[in-house]
């Protein structure tokens, strides 16, 4: 598809996105998965930023800035500055409260309006499939990161075991996701990141547990702790049986300390 057409679909997609509607559509197990994802990402960033003085985090596709508020709710982010980039004026107008030092900017990931080597960490959380040019996004992340800076990407896995097992269901789902311009599996994702000159990307998948929707809803009977344990066991089994086949992908990569030809 031509870049110009992808761009117009991108514009269309963001104007329809609604965080509230999205969160309200999730049942309790999905909500828990989302929270666990945020916690995983926060932990990675906290470990990476632990030794840095006043690190800067750029959250691309920040929506209403929910992740900044999540960091604060977990007592993380002290001394950090949170930069949120979001193309949708609508989302920015509904920004959430956040006690961290924060700057919000309206812009696009493919043409980041930030200076070279200005960020210690760049986060792409569940947004890459909405971008019109993912390769350009990673080149921009590379440019904007300081040498040694950390890139963290999370994304739905298009090659998860259940999507491969039920390709028809996956196709039906895709036909409803008009704002998804690309779909990635682990190999493609790692390849696209490496093509932007990042150091060997580390990728893992998670959310291996997947049940029919009515059963997923029924897990509410287990209570939050039971659901947590269920997801934990699912991931432990998944890591052993089919490590690249979980429902979600999490990738870490660093900009090398020295420029390479």
């Amino acid at each position: 598809m031509a870049e110009i057409e992808l761009f117009s679909r991108w514009k269309e997609g963001q104007s329809h996105w609604d965080d509230d509607e999205f969160l309200a559509s999730l049942h309790s197990l999905m909500r828990l998965r989302y929270k666990r994802l945020n916690a995983r990402v926060a932990k990675i960033l906290a470990e990476a930023f632990g030794s840095l003085r006043n690190p800067r985090l750029l959250d691309i596709g920040c929506g209403r800035g929910d992740f900044g508020a999540f960091l604060e709710s977990q007592c993380l982010g002290a001394g950090w500055t949170y930069f949120g980039l979001e193309p949708s004026a609508e989302q920015l107008a509904h920004r959430v409260e956040c006690g961290l030092p924060r700057h919000l900017v309206q812009g696009a990931a493919e043409r980041l309006p930030f200076a070279d080597m200005s960020m210690d960490g760049v986060l792409l959380k569940e947004m890459l499939d909405h971008c019109w040019d993912p390769g350009a996004v990673f080149r921009e992340c590379y440019r904007t990161l300081k040498p040694g800076g950390l890139l963290v990407v999370t994304l739905t896995n298009d090659r998860s075991w259940f999507k491969r097992l039920l390709p028809g269901v996956n196709q039906r789902l895709k036909s409803t996701q008009h704002d998804h311009l690309h779909f990635f599996g682990p190999e493609e994702l790692a390849r696209t990141v490496a093509a932007a000159r990042f150091d060997t990307p580390q990728l893992q998948t998670y959310n291996h547990l997947k049940l029919p929707r009515f059963l997923e809803k029924a897990t509410a009977l287990l209570g939050p702790l039971g659901q947590e344990a269920l997801l934990e066991v699912g991931d432990a089994l998944g890591r052993v049986l089919a490590s690249d086949s979980g429902g979600g992908m999490l990738l870490k990569a660093r900009r090398p300390l020295e420029n390479r030809p």
């Binding site: 500055t81 193309p87 700057h103 043409r111 019109w132």
Partner: protein
């Protein structure tokens, strides 16, 4: 008293033009690119730095 910049000085030093990559200077209600002179509005402290659409091939 007029406000000297619509965005904080810390943010301004980190921002660049999304179209040409040059530095920006603050005016009363917007940011202007030093090189290509495009103007970017600032609303409630949030600068709007969207790029031009890609050129069709």
């Amino acid at each position: 008293m007029t406000q000297p910049s619509p965005v904080s000085p810390e943010l301004l030093t980190l921002l660049v033009c999304p179209n040409c990559g040059s530095a920006l200077r603050a005016r009363e209600t917007d940011l202007e690119c030093y090189a290509c002179h495009r103007a970017y509005p600032v609303k409630e402290g949030i600068p709007s730095l969207l790029p031009d659409p890609p050129k069709g091939r």
